[in-house]
């Protein structure tokens, strides 16, 4: 009897957690990654990972509070049972990582230390300096290496996933993939496939993401019928170092550990920041949000930074504000912050040339995380309110046998993600869904019995598509097209959205689609380690994802979390605060999940209700002092629960 196998695409935290857990459950795993798995984008995560803990518990915190913070932070767009399950499992996940040897920062007694993070008034974030993602990823990388040596996991690194293979019943039964060095394309049988391919920041050109984060994994499933969920919800992180090639993240932990955002009170103040006295500084988040101060959730902080710069108070009148970690501003000694935030301080110094503990950092918001992604199912446990254990429906996309986990899914963070919840959702989804996948494959006929012609046909299709690309002799360079897409998406589909600009962007995307299909020119047509080919393929995926994000944003006529819609006739009212220009949250019409399907070459939208059965939606504000306009959010429709 041929052993059943599961393919995991993506070797970041979600992919490695899934692989490790499946392997422990006795399932053979084939793990595919563009890069050696320990170079996955998870390595860039900085600040920490959330879980309820003994200290916070004694101060009144609980797993339920963590759950409530998360759905509140997500502006009530997330289905609630999966989030509750995640909050409940979180403390156990931290313990597991601890046993795996993650070098968490420690207290004098030798316990794991905690820090404050966005959207919570309790310290519930565990961390390893300011490079937590790196240490978590390496710990899981090592566990997977052990399983590899023991023969349960086979890694295919420097391989690119090209497409899922579906049988005549629409069940996913394998993938087509390409060896990036030899350019060999072949098929792989699998009794289930897991997509753990991360987010899609590259569609915006510059972001905090690695350059492999094109969203191609998601897009290639979308093109064969997998639905997307809430793609319009894109997190713009408030504090990054602006850059031509990448906006380098300056972790929220900088603020959690005492860092303060400010601008000079006087516009165009040309003095060195260290020469501007306290009374001539506007610590604007502290002024506007007395309770949460510098750690209001990211969408809110980002809009405040945008607004203050729009009003001309940015550094030198430009798009930049100060993030101050100097002892003068924080009252915290140099050595303490050096130890707690070392990794990000080094990054700032390497790329900007200044020690951020001696001179305030200059930062601006940047695209950071995709709350949306592949739509996935969940099986609610009516007794616990969380998820039914080992249910095959947990994390399955609308394609039978095709699963998604980590940033690639859409399930946990609603309209805005809280900091340090992503490392959690990546590891949680991997560990949680593995038993369900095992049950699924046990219930299905083995794909070993499928005809070889199905697989050969899938390979031929990809080879034909590749040949067409390699023969492209047009004048449109994929790198240039990507630049155009990125600029339009960045300008029009990030912090502020208005319909006229969104429509303009959709028009550009239509023309990019046409140019790609009819006028593409490939810089490299060789058959050995051809990187231009990979980029051109990804360019097409990014154009399609850009369309999905923009179309969904155009349709959603409200503001919620990171999606902030200003009507066209209000867009030039710079005299008004942003909240007075924008549409309000509208639960009556818009408390629903956006679903996007690829139909006849275009993004087709539909909607489904959100499960808000555990916590009724309430107004989301973090105690802003300047009152927003009198219009309150519309009351939720009766029976809004799924």
């Amino acid at each position: 009897m041929v052993q059943k196998r599961v393919i995991v695409v993506g070797g970041g935290l979600a992919g490695l957690s899934t692989s490790m857990k499946l392997s422990e459950e006795g399932v053979a795993v084939d793990l595919f990654s563009l890069v050696p798995v320990k170079r996955s984008h998870s390595v860039c995560a900085q600040g920490g990972i959330n879980a309820c803990n003994d200290v916070a518990r004694q101060q009144g915190y609980s797993e339920w509070e963590h759950f409530d913070e998360t759905v509140f932070g997500g502006d009530f767009l997330a289905n609630q049972p999966p989030v509750l399950e995640m909050a409940r499992m979180a403390p156990g996940i931290i313990d597991l990582l601890d046993r795996m040897g993650v070098p968490f920062s420690r207290t004098p007694e030798g316990n794991r230390d905690l820090r404050l993070f966005g959207g919570s008034l309790y310290k519930r974030t565990f961390y390893a300096g300011a490079t937590t993602g790196q240490q978590l990823l390496y710990a899981l990388d090592e566990q997977v290496r052990r399983h590899e040596v023991e023969g349960h996991i086979t890694k295919y690194e420097f391989w690119e996933f090209l497409a899922p293979i579906l049988d005549d019943n629409g069940r996913c039964c394998g993938i087509v993939a390409q060896d990036l060095r030899t350019m060999q394309i072949r098929s792989f049988r699998a009794d289930a496939v897991v997509m753990a391919t991360g987010g899609n920041g590259l569609i915006f050109g510059q972001s905090t993401m690695s350059i492999i984060c094109t969203g191609s994994g998601t897009a290639r499933c979308y093109q064969v019928g997998a639905r997307l969920g809430n793609p319009e919800f894109v997190q713009v992180h408030p504090t990054a170092i602006p850059g031509e090639d990448k906006c380098r993240l300056m972790s929220e932990s900088a603020r959690g550990e005492g860092g303060r955002l400010w601008v000079p009170r006087k516009r165009h103040d040309s003095r060195h920041p260290n020469d501007i006295p306290e009374e001539e500084r506007d610590y604007f988040l502290e002024r506007l949000y007395p309770k949460y101060k510098n750690i209001v959730p990211r969408d809110i902080a980002t809009r405040e930074i945008f607004y203050i710069c729009e009003q001309g108070y940015g550094i030198g009148g430009g798009q930049m504000v100060y993030l101050d970690l100097t002892e003068k501003a924080t009252g915290i000694p140099y050595d303490v912050l050096k130890r707690k935030l070392g990794g990000i301080l080094e990054t700032y110094e390497k790329f900007v040339g200044v020690d951020p503990l001696l001179e305030p950092m200059k930062i601006y918001p940047a695209v950071h995380y995709s709350m949306g992604g592949l739509w996935v199912d969940f099986a609610k446990d009516e007794k616990t309110g969380g998820l039914r254990k080992a249910d095959p429906r947990n994390q399955m996309t609308n394609i039978t046998g095709l699963y998604a986990a980590g940033e690639a899914d859409y399930q946990y963070h609603g309209a805005n993600r809280l900091g340090a919840n992503s490392l959690l959702s990546c590891i949680f989804t991997g560990l949680m869904m593995a038993p369900g996948i095992k049950k699924f494959i046990a219930s299905q006929p083995p794909v070993a019995e499928h005809a070889q012609s199905l697989y050969d046909g899938a390979v031929q299709k990809q080879q034909a598509a590749q040949t067409k690309l390699l023969n492209s002799k047009g004048s449109d360079n994929p790198y240039m097209m990507h630049r155009e897409l990125g600029k339009a998406m960045s300008d029009n589909v990030t912090i502020i959205r208005c319909n006229s600009k969104l429509k303009q962007t959709l028009n550009l995307i239509e023309s990019l689609k046409d140019r790609f299909q009819n006028n593409l020119g490939l810089p490299d047509s060789g058959m050995w380690n051809n990187q231009s080919l990979g980029f051109a393929r990804a360019c097409w995926d990014m154009i399609l994802l850009g369309e999905a994000v923009t179309a969904a944003a155009l349709a959603r006529e409200e503001s919620r979390g990171s999606h902030f819609k200003i009507p066209d006739d209000m867009i030039n009212h710079h005299d008004l605060p942003l909240e007075e220009r924008a549409l309000q949250r509208d639960d009556e019409h818009w408390l629903k999940t956006t679903l996007v399907s690829y139909v006849d070459g275009k993004a087709a939208l539909s909607y489904e209700p959100v499960d808000v059965s555990l916590v009724p939606p309430r107004a989301r504000n973090y105690g802003k002092v300047t009152a927003p306009p009198a219009k309150a959010p519309a009351a939720p429709a009766a029976g809004a629960a799924a």
């Binding site: 170079r39 390595v43 313990d95 030798g110 060095r181 930049m320 790329f351 918001p365 810089p523 060789g526």
Partner: protein
């Protein structure tokens, strides 16, 4: 999301290319626009977008590995002006600070076989991680409570070691590490020290010491100390080598007396 405006100029690049593992290397010259804060990965990206040499020929762009662009993933290790560096954190203004307008030379690592252009095969480093059992042998992933207490001092020793991104800089710089020998190198000695320190990792210490004292092991270190000078994460590699050296002595004595 917009970088502050900087003056654009042109920089000359000399890139050592190689079309495949079995063909001969050859130089190619490019002129690329840049600003003072451009990094070498951006220069290579510019060539990908417009792969025309300095004398006007259109070529296939040089292949290179890159991912995070912020020096945490270890992908973009290469030789820049003869020194091993991460291309993403090598800024034009830094390399040209005392030699403005000089061309920048980019070449692949010499200690690993070339696959194409700047892409080399670094799998040896990962195979060696398997040999020294570079993992914590835990009792499975069910929730069995927290790990052991670790003092802040222990954590502050372990954390720097845990930042090794397997980039290969130390091995490139090391005179003892060659393509055709078995030398493990600083990367492995330092990671072994890390696993030997942790209460859960300690259980495999003897197995690790057997490997570290075998062929290509710790006794082959010539104490050149190049490794610690080039490590981008400033890991105290020579300190780790010292620790492993002492552990090797202790282990051989222990073995001798337990015969």
């Amino acid at each position: 999301m917009i970088a502050p405006a900087e003056t654009t100029k042109t920089v000359k690049l000399n890139v050592l290319r190689q079309d495949s593992p079995d063909t001969q290397p050859y130089w190619q010259h490019f002129e690329v626009p840049c600003t003072p804060s451009s990094n070498v990965t951006s220069l290579l990206r510019s060539i990908s977008a417009n792969p025309v040499t300095a004398d006007g020929s259109t070529v296939a762009p040089p292949a290179y590995e890159a991912s995070c662009l912020e020096e945490v993933c270890g992908s973009c290790t290469m030789l820049i002006n003869g020194r091993v560096r991460q291309a993403c954190s090598t800024l034009v203004r830094k390399i040209q600070s005392d030699r403005p307008n000089e061309p920048i030379t980019i070449a692949p690592l010499t200690k690993f076989p070339v696959i194409r252009d700047l892409v080399v095969d670094r799998s040896r480093m990962f195979e060696n991680l398997k040999r020294i059992k570079a993992w914590m042998p835990i009792d499975g992933s069910f929730n069995l409570g927290p790990g052991p207490k670790i003092t802040p001092e222990e954590q502050q020793t372990m954390y720097p070691l845990s930042r090794c991104m397997t980039c290969g800089s130390c091995l490139e710089a090391c005179p003892q590490f060659t393509r055709d020998n078995q030398f493990l190198g600083a990367q492995i000695f330092s990671i072994a020290r890390y696993y030997n320190m942790h209460p859960n990792g300690k259980t495999e210490k003897d197995a690790r010491m057997e490997v570290l004292m075998g062929e290509g092991g710790i006794t082959d270190c010539g104490n050149a100390q190049n490794c610690v000078k080039v490590c981008p994460k400033e890991i105290p590699l020579t300190e780790s080598i010292g620790v492993i050296g002492r552990a090797a002595t202790v282990y051989s004595i222990k073995k001798f007396f337990s015969k």
